[in-house]
């Protein structure tokens, strides 16, 4: 009976302990502190966006979104739009995609699938990572010193006084700027493909190229695609190198009837640069309303790109 009594009391102790929930003051304070940090970050973001939207709203309300995005640049505040800038940014991004994707993805495939893992390749890998961290203005200097000259020399210098400071040079410069990021994201996507897939391919007598072409690349494609879309968004929003390599910060018209070649090699501008120049424009309406409106257009494009990247990733994400 003694042991039974002892066991009952032991159970009571357990019950008591289980119910002895204590109030943890430190824990609550810490949680509140973390929440405060989060709210601060959100508040900054919301204030920024609210401020921009408030500035941009009159433009969109009075002229409509369509009129604003289809009107060319102008000195007159009531007719100025961003169509020229959108055209410039889109051609720039297209050039970046055409140049940086084949080079970047090719380099990534070589590094990940072919190159042997030795000191040289590790050194190259480290430096690619370093290059990704180089400030964009430095790439602008490179663009001005080398690429603008190169573009002029090979005959794409463009009409008039452009002298190679055109969207081709800008696109090439921006392609070099994003190249390290393309290589890094593509390398990571390739690395995420399990080696069992490669072994299976080799096991049935596929060559290295066949394994890559039929199994590794299709498996890595969603990851590569996601990374490259984000890269393009970066190129779309980047400003500093463009300012250096002579993007038109003033106002110009390509001229009605200008050929496609002239448009491509002539003076150009880009969305973030328009935001920059309008925000310094003393004319009525530019700083307060038009610049925020251009920011909204820029943000919508970037958010759409990011959303597309997320959607693609979720849709094609593989579970191994």
């Amino acid at each position: 009976m003694a042991t039974r009594a002892a066991s009952v009391s032991a159970t009571d102790v357990v019950r008591q302990n289980l119910r002895g929930k204590k109030f943890s003051f430190g824990g609550i304070v810490f949680e509140a502190f973390l929440l405060l940090m989060l709210l601060t970050a959100l508040a900054i973001l919301v204030t920024l966006i609210a401020d921009i939207v408030a500035g941009a709203l009159p433009v969109f309300r009075e002229r409509g979104v369509v009129d604003f995005v289809t009107s060319p640049l102008s000195l007159a505040g009531d007719t100025a739009g961003v169509s020229t800038a959108i055209l410039g940014s889109v051609s720039l991004t297209a050039i970046v995609a055409l140049v940086s994707f084949p080079i970047g993805i090719g380099a990534a495939i070589y590094l990940e699938e072919y190159a042997s893992d030795n000191r040289v390749t590790r050194f190259i890998g480290t430096n690619i990572r370093n290059l990704a961290g180089v400030p964009s203005i430095v790439y602008g200097l490179l663009g001005l010193a080398v690429i603008v000259e190169l573009v002029d020399v090979i005959g794409l210098g463009g009409p008039g006084t452009t002298n190679g400071r055109n969207v081709v040079a800008a696109g090439l410069t921006m392609a070099i700027l994003v190249l390290p990021i393309v290589i890094i994201t593509a390398t990571e996507a390739l690395r995420a493909v399990p080696s069992s897939i490669r072994e299976a391919g080799f096991g049935v007598g596929a060559t290295r190229w066949e394994v890559i072409r039929h199994h590794v690349l299709p498996s890595a494609a969603p990851g590569i695609l996601t990374g490259t879309i984000l890269t393009l968004a970066r190129a779309f929003g980047e400003t500093a190198p463009l300012l250096l390599i002579g993007v038109a910060t003033g106002f110009f018209s390509a001229g009605a009837g200008a050929s496609f070649f002239d448009q491509l090699t002539g003076k150009y501008t880009a969305l973030p640069v328009v935001v920059f120049s309008w925000s310094r424009q003393p004319t009525e309406g530019f700083q307060d309303n038009l610049a925020p409106a251009a920011i909204i257009v820029l943000l919508v494009v970037l958010f759409t790109a990011n959303a597309a990247a997320v959607l693609l990733r979720n849709r094609y994400e593989r579970k191994w």
């Binding site: 072994e199 299976a200 391919g201 039929h214």
Partner: protein, 299 residues
């Protein structure tokens, strides 16, 4: 230790019964299992001589010599790290994919040294198929999983027929014939592994290497794979690495026992201890180390 002492010890561990009954009790032979008798001597498929494998400076396997004969199932058993998978991967030059791996000695396949300078490893792998430890179907349809190997090998015949034939041989056809276009990942683990076997035999190899093909499967799926191996033995030469001694005893004709040789300087190298008919290895092994391992005293 003398032979008689060893026999005494073995009998102390297991009551003295005649060999057949002892084996049957130990491994629960399925009905279709052939009795373990000395396997008929087939043509020599692989002749391994003085095989050593290095990963960088580390010697993984030392001086392995093995003859592998046609239409037999040869099992490699032994504790972890004894190099049995490493040796298996020498048979289709899968070790080539590991950059630091180096092979010394010779692996003669129908008389040709697989590590000869003019040997094409891609052609080797077409003739010597492989099934891996974890089922690794391609992230494609069931049909494409089978058709890929023949397609890249330039197969011009009736692909639908070949896919069906391969799936039938792998005893999977009835389960998947209505969903050939579905993803291979929709299959169960055991079905995936049989799909991998079907994929391996679709290129009409004459050898199938299996690296612990059932270790990730449940007992029922394992049994199906083992039954499949009996069937495949008629047409193929099979080499299987297994951690499961009962499996080796159940399915194989010949068994190679590997172990780890630890040197004084702590270096661990895989060595082949004994290679003989499976019945002999499991009932009357010639080496004390084998006896210790199969009776569970070591490993």
């Amino acid at each position: 230790m003398t032979a008689s002492e060893r026999t005494d010890e073995a009998e102390a561990a297991t009551p003295p019964v005649d060999d057949g009954a002892r084996l049957a009790r130990r491994v629960e032979l399925p009905d279709r299992a052939p009795p373990h008798q000395a396997a008929p001597v087939g043509e020599l498929v692989f002749d391994v001589r003085d095989l050593s494998v290095f990963y960088g400076d580390f010697q993984a396997v030392r001086d392995v010599a093995l003859p592998i004969r046609q239409n037999q199932i040869t099992a490699f058993i032994g504790p972890s790290g004894c190099g049995k998978s490493t040796v298996l991967r020498c048979f289709n030059r899968m070790n080539d994919l590991i950059e630091t791996a180096r092979v010394r000695g010779s692996v003669r396949y129908h008389g040709v040294d697989l590590y000869g300078a003019d040997v094409d490893p891609v052609e080797v792998r077409r003739r010597i198929g492989m099934v891996f430890q974890k089922p690794n179907p391609f992230p494609k349809s069931i049909y494409d999983n089978i058709a890929f190997g023949p397609k890249i090998a330039g197969y011009r015949g009736n692909m639908d027929g070949l896919v069906e034939e391969s799936l039938r041989r792998a005893a999977l056809w009835d389960e998947v014939k209505d969903k050939l276009k579905q993803s291979a990942f929709a299959l169960s683990g055991g079905q995936q592994q049989r799909l991998c076997i079907a994929r391996a035999i679709a290129t009409s190899p004459d050898v199938v290497l299996m690296d612990e093909p059932a270790s990730a499967l449940d007992p029922i799926a394992t049994l199906r794979i083992e039954e499949l191996m009996y069937e495949l033995k008629k047409d193929y030469t099979i080499i299987i690495v297994t951690h499961n001694m009962q499996q080796a005893a159940r399915v194989s004709d010949r068994t190679a026992f590997f172990t780890v040789d630890v040197r004084d300087n702590g270096q661990r190298t895989g060595v082949l201890v004994e290679f003989d008919d499976t019945g002999k290895i499991f009932t009357n092994p010639g080496e004390q180390q084998t006896e210790d391992y199969i009776t569970g005293r070591f490993g």
